[in-house]
């Protein structure tokens, strides 16, 4: 199953690059090009890692870590 997901994601990313990048180069939108490439790269890498069952840091865990100082207060409040 993993290989199918990886192939699908790669096909999606390549098709998207082929369609979008020439347009952006033509319009000289370099800022968009950078953001697009970074986000698409991040998404592709995340999808591949996920289908290989690698543990990825969880955004919810990160938010929980930021708010860990008030965790005790919340637990007392919502009992």
């Amino acid at each position: 199953m993993g290989i199918v997901v990886i192939l699908l994601v790669l096909v999606f990313s390549i098709v998207l690059c082929v369609i979008e990048i020439p347009k952006m180069l033509q319009d000289r939108q370099y800022r968009e090009l950078w953001t697009f490439s970074i986000l698409l790269g991040l998404g592709t890498i995340l999808a591949i890692l996920k289908s290989l069952n690698v543990d990825i840091p969880n955004p919810s865990d990160f938010i929980a870590w930021v708010y860990s100082p008030v965790e005790g207060v919340m637990k007392g409040l919502l009992k």
């Binding site: 939108q29 968009e32 697009f36 986000l39 698409l40 592709t44 955004p59 708010y67 637990k75």
Partner: protein, 372 residues
């Protein structure tokens, strides 16, 4: 983005769908677990507090009629601090959208299609959201107008059909343990229905015609009141029909409630009515979280062509939505202990800080008359 303008009626529909949001079928459970049979009083308390929040948000929006919330933050807090706050806001929005997608996947795999893998439902839902944003805000607003009538009709129908099962005794004794549990019970309601309204500030002043702003404030309030009454009715009916103990123990109390419908043996198992309502409202909710994150990121990076980053962002959200919560206990724990302080920061503290900064800036420049 192009100058899209929506009408005040569309804004009312959006606000109403947004307030019902993800919480219509879940919230009664957490409110009832804290306030027991007085959960309906908690809903009233939360609704009254929400009026202040709405006033705060619309006032903040009215200060800069041509800027979104993200731009206001950057303008008032400066380039670096503002940029940092906006980055965290975008992170929370995208994370929140992914969590809603997770909810949908979890609901369908536990209640309806138990054999389907979760990620198929997740990916389909994300695709619909990305398509909706591709069509632009105008299409979204028109769709909300249609949703508005469907939601009201379906909800009233299902509540009407469940009425024969009402048992008035479930609501007594009123205020058995005093006012404190009631206030505690209003906290989850605040966190899931009232405080997230700040995200509508991404569309509220910008996409409204300047002449309509006063009208738009009223319609936002109207939408909020209708949405809150739907939440209120669902909580009251849950307590009337199921009693506070069952309401607190069931994960989706309103679906459980509509399963109780039994009118003359013919009308039974009509929970699909409420599921349709929930799918429409959570779609709207996810859409605006994702829209806020997407638009916020574009404005943070000062992109000219916003829609270029939509598909990569959708891919990221589809992947994240798969593992954003590890399990259901993790989700319940996170939603109570982390989401509340988180949304409290962005929905209440940040707007107040922005208003204070605005006042200080105006006093400094000696422009007191401009403060209205």
């Amino acid at each position: 983005m192009e100058k899209i303008k929506i009408t005040s009626h569309q804004l009312m529909a959006i606000t109403m769908t947004y307030v019902c949001g993800a919480s219509t079928i879940i919230i009664a459970s957490s409110a009832a677990s804290l306030a027991k049979q007085d959960a309906w009083i908690s809903a009233v308390v939360a609704a009254l507090f929400g009026l202040i929040v709405i006033w705060l948000n619309t006032y903040l929006g009215g200060l800069y009629p041509d800027k979104t919330y993200v731009e206001v933050i950057q303008l008032l807090l400066g380039k670096w601090l503002g940029g940092f706050v906006v980055a965290t806001f975008v992170f929370v929005c995208i994370g929140g959208a992914a969590q809603f997608v997770w909810y949908v996947g979890d609901f369908f795999t536990t209640q309806y299609m138990t054999e389907t893998p979760t990620y198929i439902i997740d990916v389909l839902f994300v695709i619909v959201i990305v398509i909706a944003i591709f069509y632009g805000l105008e299409a979204i607003a028109r769709a909300s107008e249609i949703f508005f009538y469907i939601i009201i009709a379906m909800f009233i129908l299902s509540m009407f059909l469940v009425m024969p099962n009402i048992n008035i005794d479930n609501i007594f004794p009123v205020l058995e343990k005093g006012i404190v549990p009631v206030l505690k019970g209003s906290l989850p309601l605040l966190a899931f229905t009232v405080l997230p309204l700040i995200i509508l500030n991404m569309i509220y002043p910008v996409n409204i015609n300047v002449n309509d702003i006063k009208d738009a404030k009223k319609s936002m309030l109207k939408g909020y009141i209708i949405g809150m009454s739907i939440t209120f009715i669902s909580i009251v009916m849950c307590i009337f029909v199921l009693g506070s103990t069952i309401t607190a123990d069931v994960r989706y109390p309103v679906v459980f409630l509509t399963k109780e419908i039994n009118v003359g043996i013919i009308f039974t198992r009509l929970e699909a009515l409420i599921v349709i309502v929930w799918i429409l409202t959570i779609f709207n909710n996810t859409l605006f979280y994702f829209y806020a994150g997407f638009l916020g990121l574009s404005q943070l990076l000062k992109l000219k062509d916003y829609k270029k980053i939509l598909l990569p962002l959708g891919l990221i959200m589809a992947v994240i939505s798969n593992f954003v919560y590890d399990s259901v206990p993790y989700e319940i724990d996170w939603d109570t202990n982390v989401w509340f302080p988180c949304i409290f920061t962005y929905g209440l503290i940040l707007p107040v800080v922005l208003l204070i900064v605005y006042c200080i800036k105006n006093i400094k420049t000696g422009n007191k008359l401009n403060m209205k």
